[in-house]
C-alpha cells in the first residue's frame, strides 16, 4: 500500500476531564481508502479521541488536520459538514419518527421552502438500498430491531457525502450475517475512497476488515501497525499491557469441574429453580428449564432468538402467561422484579444504560441501590456500611476511577458494568442472570467478569450466562441451553462441545448436533 497523504491527521492531542487525563499527546491519522481500527481497553481513550475528532469535545492541546487544513469543529454538525460522519455505539436516532425522517433528518429535500416528503422518502429509500436494507421508509424506526436501527444509522451517515466514516462498535448488536452485510458495505465504501474508522471489541472482525490498527492504552498512544504485520497475541498484549493467561486457566477449571461432576451429578437433587412450560404469547414459546445450585447455564442463540426474553420471564421482569415456576421445589410466582429479588433471583439487563445504571447517582449509591430497595426506605444503610460496600467492590472488581463519589455517567462502559455487577452481588444473589455482561467492554474487563462468574458458581451461586459470543458461553457454562426462533431447542451438558457443535444447533434448530 502506497503511503498517501492522510485525510485525517491528529497530532499531540490532549484532553483532560475533571480529575482524569483522558488523552495525553496522542497522534492519530487516517488514510483514504483504508479501514483503520482503533484498539484499546475501556477507558483507553478511544471514544474520547473520536469525540475530539467529531467536535463533541474540545482539545486542550494538539492539532487536528483534515485534508491538510487545520480544523477545530465546534459541533458534530460542523464535523459532518467537514466530511466526517459518525455512527455511535448506542444508536442515536429518534425511535418515534419514521425511518425516512431519521435518514434524512436535517437535510430533507425542500421545495418552495417546505419539505418535499415524496423526495425525502425516495432519497431515503435509495440510501437504505445502499446499505442493503429493504424496509418500508415510512415505518416507525422504533418498530425495528436494534440491528436494523444500526443499519439505518449507517445509511444516514453514508448519506452525508462522508470522506471519513466513524463506526463506533457498530457490530455489537448484529448477528453474524448482518456483520457480513455490514462488512460488504464497509468494503464498498472503502473502495470508493472513504477512510473508515472502525472500533470493535471483536478481534475476529478487526482482523477481517481493517487494514491498519492504532492501539491506545490509558490515554496514551502505544503504536500504529499494519493489521497483516501484527499477531493477535501481540496486539492483545499491547492493549492490556500484560500477558493474558487468566482465560486459559479459567477454561481448564470449568472443564475440570464439569468432568468431576459428570453428566448425572444432579440426578436426585432438587433444582434451585425450575421452569415448567413457562411462556408468554408472542414473546416466547413454553420452555422447560432447570437450574441447579452452583451451576452456570449458558444461554446461546442468535439475536432475537428469545434469550433475553426467557431471562426476563424467569426473573419476574416480564410476566409469563403460561406455565409455572418452582423455587427449590416450591411453587412460586414472581409478579415483579422486586419479588424475584426478595428470593435472591437477579436479572442484570443487557441494556446497561437504560435498564441498568442510574447515571446521575454516584458509584456508591448505585452499588447500594438494590440492597437499599430490599431493606425498605425506613431502614437506610448506614453511611459507614455504604462506604465499606463501595470500597470493597471497587477493590474486588477493579472499578476505575476508584472513587465512590464519582457519578456513574462519567465511567467507561466496562466500569459501569462492574458497578452494576457490584449492585447485584451486594444483595448476595442465589441465582444471577447476566444478560450480555461483557458486551461492548474490553478484553481485560471481560476476563475479569468471566473469572468472577466462575468463582461465584464455585461458591454455590447459580448463574445464567447470556452472550452472543459462543467462545465465552462455552468457556464458562456447565450446561448450555440453546434458543432459536423463540423456543428452546436444546439443553445439553457442556463436555467437549465446540463452537461448531453449537453453531450447528443454532443454525438448524434440531437436536442432531447434541452429543449422545
Amino acid at each position: 500500500m502506497t503511503e498517501q497523504s492522510p485525510v485525517v491527521d491528529m497530532r499531540g492531542i490532549s484532553i483532560t476531564f475533571p480529575g482524569v487525563k483522558a488523552l495525553d499527546g496522542v497522534d492519530f491519522r487516517m488514510l483514504p481508502g483504508e479501514v483503520h481500527s482503533l484498539m484499546g481497553e475501556n477507558g483507553a481513550g478511544k471514544s474520547t479521541l473520536i469525540k475530539a475528532l467529531t467536535g463533541v469535545y474540545q482539545i486542550d492541546s494538539g492539532s487536528i488536520r483534515v485534508d491538510g487544513r487545520e480544523v477545530s469543529f465546534a459541533s458534530t454538525a460542523e464535523a459532518q459538514a467537514g466530511g466526517i460522519s459518525t455512527v455511535y455505539q448506542e444508536v442515536n436516532l429518534l425511535p418515534n419518527l419514521t425511518v425516512a425522517e431519521n435518514v434524512m433528518l436535517g437535510r430533507e429535500p425542500r421545495r418552495f421552502g417546505t419539505i418535499d416528503w415524496r423526495a425525502t422518502r425516495r432519497r431515503a429509500a435509495e440510501l437504505l438500498k445502499r446499505v442493503g436494507l429493504d424496509i418500508d421508509p415510512t415505518s416507525l424506526l422504533g418498530s425495528h430491531s436494534l440491528a436494523v436501527q444500526q443499519l439505518v444509522a449507517i445509511s444516514r451517515a453514508v448519506g452525508v457525502d462522508a470522506r471519513v466514516l466513524i463506526l463506533d462498535e457498530p457490530t455489537s448488536s448484529l448477528d453474524a450475517d448482518e456483520v457480513q452485510e455490514l462488512f460488504r458495505i464497509i468494503r464498498s465504501l472503502r473502495d470508493s475512497g472513504t477512510a473508515i474508522l472502525f472500533v470493535s471489541h471483536f478481534l475476529d472482525q478487526v482482523y477481517e476488515i481493517s487494514d491498519r490498527l492504532t492501539v491506545l492504552r490509558n490515554g496514551t498512544l502505544i503504536g500504529e501497525y499494519l493489521t497483516e504485520e501484527i499477531l493477535r497475541i501481540d496486539l492483545v498484549q499491547k492493549m492490556i499491557g500484560k500477558e493474558l493467561t487468566v482465560l486459559d486457566d479459567l477454561e481448564k477449571r470449568t472443564k475440570a469441574t464439569t468432568d468431576d461432576e459428570g453428566d448425572d451429578s444432579h440426578r436426585g437433587d432438587v433444582p434451585f429453580l425450575e421452569a415448567i412450560g413457562l411462556g408468554r404469547k408472542g414473546t416466547i414459546e413454553p420452555v422447560d428449564l432447570r437450574i441447579y445450585e452452583g451451576e452456570v447455564v449458558g444461554l446461546a442463540g442468535l439475536l432475537g432468538s428469545g434469550r433475553s426474553e426467557l431471562a426476563r420471564l424467569i426473573s419476574g421482569v416480564d410476566r409469563p402467561d403460561s406455565g409455572e415456576y418452582r423455587l427449590r421445589g416450591q411453587k412460586t410466582r414472581f409478579r415483579t422484579p422486586r419479588q424475584a429479588l426478595k428470593n435472591r433471583v437477579v436479572y442484570s439487563s443487557e441494556n446497561r444504560r437504560t435498564e441498568g445504571i442510574v447515571d446521575e447517582l454516584s458509584v456508591r449509591d448505585n452499588i447500594a441501590l438494590a440492597l437499599q430497595a430490599d431493606r425498605g426506605w425506613f431502614r437506610p444503610i448506614p453511611k459507614k456500611r455504604q462506604d465499606e460496600l463501595a470500597e470493597s467492590y471497587i477493590q474486588a472488581l477493579g472499578i476505575r476511577p476508584a472513587n465512590p463519589d464519582a457519578l456513574v455517567k462519567n465511567l467507561s462502559g466496562g466500569n459501569q458494568q462492574k458497578v452494576l455487577l457490584a449492585r447485584w452481588l451486594a444483595i448476595a444473589p442465589r441465582l444471577l442472570i447476566l444478560d450480555e455482561p461483557t458486551r461492548g467492554i474490553d478484553i481485560g474487563a471481560k476476563a475479569e467478569i468471566q473469572k468472577l462468574v466462575s468463582d461465584l458458581a464455585e461458591n454455590g451461586m447459580s448463574v445464567v450466562f447470556i452472550s452472543a459470543e459462543l467462545d465465552e458461553v462455552l468457556r464458562l457454562s456447565h450446561r448450555i441451553a440453546i434458543m432459536r426462533d423463540r423456543s428452546l431447542v436444546a439443553d445439553i451438558e457442556n463436555d467437549d462441545l465446540s463452537t461448531d457443535n453449537l453453531l450447528a444447533i443454532i443454525a438448524d434448530g434440531s437436536r442432531e448436533g447434541t452429543p449422545a
Partner: protein, 366 residues
C-alpha cells in the same frame, strides 16, 4: 472561589442577597426586627410569613419533580381545603370553638389526602403523564371548591382559625413555624432515611430502579399525596389570613410560583437530584421579589415585568451553558496570566498552540 461559583445555589443566593440589599437601600429600616406585644415584627418577618404557603407547596413539589413528575393541581387543592374548612366553620353553631376549627382543619386535610390519592392513582397506576393527570384536578378542583362554597365568598370570623394565618407561637408567626416544620420533616424523611435516594433513583431511571427492586409505584403515589396535603395546609393558611374562602382566587397561580421556587433552587424539571434547601432559597427569592416591588415603589402595572426580569436573570445565570462560559473565561484569563508569567521568567515554554476553548456541544437524543 471557582468551586463556590460552580455550586448550583451560588446565583440564587447572590440574587437573594442582592434583593435584600436593594431593599435596605430603599428602606433603611428594612432589616430591623422589633418585638411588639411579645411578637416579632419587621419586613423580614413579613417575607417569611407571606412566603410560607408557597414554600410549603414547593417542598411537596420538589419531591414530585424529583420523580420526573409535576403537580399543577396544588392551587385548586388550596381552594378546596379553604372552602371545606370555612363551610364547616360557618355551618357550625359555635364557629369560635377550638373543637369546630379542629374538625374543619382535620376534614380539609383528609379531603386533600383523597385528592392526592387521586393524582397518585392517575400517575402511578394508570401511567398518565403527570402534567395531564394533574391538569384534570387543576381545572376540576376550582369547580369542586365552587360547589362547596355555593358560589359565595365565605367569610369566617373564628379566632382559633385566624391563628393559622396571623397568629404567633413564641413570638414567631404560626405560618412560618408550620413551613419550618414541614420543610424540616421533609428533609429528615428524605435524607435521614433512604427515601431521598430512592426518589432520585426513580426520577433518573425508572426502569433501572424497577429492576433493582425499588417500589416506584408506591413512592410516586406517596409524593403526590404528600404534596396535596402540603397544598391543603397552604390553603388553610391563605384562607385564614384573608379570613375568607374564595373558590376562584385562593391559591391562584401558586402552582407556578412553587414550580419556579423548585427550579430556582436547582432541582431539574427532568427529575433526579433534588435540593430542599435550594427550594427554600427559591421560595425566599420569589417572596422577597414581591416585597421589593412594594418597598422600592415600582408601579403596580410594572410588577409582573419586574418579577419576570429577575427570574430570567436567575435562570440565565444558572444555566449550564453560562456556567461553562464563565469557566471558559476564567480558564482563558488563567492561561493568559501563565503566558505572561512564562514570558516574564524567560522560560517561554510555548505551551502549545492556543486553541480557543468553546463550550461543549452535546447531541440531543429524545
Amino acid at each position: 472561589m471557582t468551586k463556590l461559583m460552580s455550586n448550583r445555589l451560588f446565583w440564587p443566593i447572590v440574587m437573594l442577597a442582592a434583593l435584600l440589599v436593594v431593599n435596605l437601600i430603599a428602606f433603611p429600616g428594612f432589616f430591623s426586627i422589633q418585638i411588639r406585644d411579645g411578637h416579632l415584627f419587621g419586613s423580614l418577618v413579613d417575607i417569611l410569613r407571606n412566603g410560607a404557603p408557597t414554600l410549603i407547596i414547593a417542598v411537596g413539589m420538589t419531591l414530585v419533580i424529583a420523580t420526573r413528575g409535576i403537580d399543577l393541581s396544588v392551587g385548586a387543592v388550596c381552594a378546596i381545603s379553604g372552602a371545606v374548612a370555612c363551610s364547616i366553620i360557618l355551618g357550625s353553631p359555635d364557629p369560635g370553638s377550638v373543637a369546630t376549627v379542629a374538625v374543619a382543619i382535620g376534614t380539609a386535610l383528609l379531603i386533600s389526602l383523597v385528592l392526592g390519592v387521586w393524582n397518585g392513582f392517575l400517575v402511578s397506576v394508570l401511567k398518565i403523564q403527570p402534567i395531564i393527570a394533574t391538569l384534570i384536578l387543576m381545572t376540576a378542583g376550582r369547580g369542586i371548591a365552587m360547589l362547596i362554597t355555593e358560589g359565595q365568598i365565605l367569610t369566617v370570623r373564628s379566632d382559633p382559625f385566624k391563628v393559622l394565618g396571623s397568629g404567633f407561637i413564641f413570638g414567631i408567626p404560626v405560618a412560618v413555624v408550620l413551613a419550618a416544620v414541614i420543610l424540616g420533616l421533609a428533609a429528615l424523611l428524605t435524607r435521614r432515611t433512604a427515601l431521598g435516594l430512592l426518589i432520585e433513583s426513580v426520577g433518573i431511571n425508572p426502569e433501572a430502579s424497577r429492576l433493582a427492586g425499588v417500589r416506584s409505584k408506591g413512592l410516586i403515589f406517596a409524593v403526590y399525596v404528600f404534596t396535596a396535603v402540603c397544598a391543603a395546609i397552604a390553603g388553610l393558611i391563605l384562607t385564614s389570613n384573608q379570613t375568607s374562602a374564595d373558590a376562584n382566587n385562593t391559591g391562584l397561580f401558586i402552582e407556578l410560583d412553587a414550580i419556579l421556587a423548585v427550579v430556582i433552587g436547582g432541582t431539574s424539571l427532568a427529575g433526579g437530584r433534588f435540593s430542599l434547601f435550594g427550594t427554600l432559597i427559591g421560595a425566599l427569592v420569589i417572596q422577597t421579589l414581591v416585597t421589593t416591588v412594594y418597598t422600592v415603589g415600582i408601579p403596580p402595572i410594572a410588577t409582573m415585568v419586574f418579577k419576570a426580569a429577575v427570574v430570567t436573570a436567575v435562570c440565565l445565570l444558572q444555566s449550564p451553558r453560562s456556567a461553562e462560559m464563565i469557566a471558559a473565561a476564567r480558564a482563558r484569563r488563567a492561561r493568559r496570566k501563565r503566558l505572561v508569567d512564562d514570558a516574564a521568567s524567560g522560560s517561554g515554554t510555548g505551551s502549545g498552540p492556543l486553541t480557543p476553548t468553546r463550550s461543549d456541544s452535546k447531541e440531543v437524543s429524545v
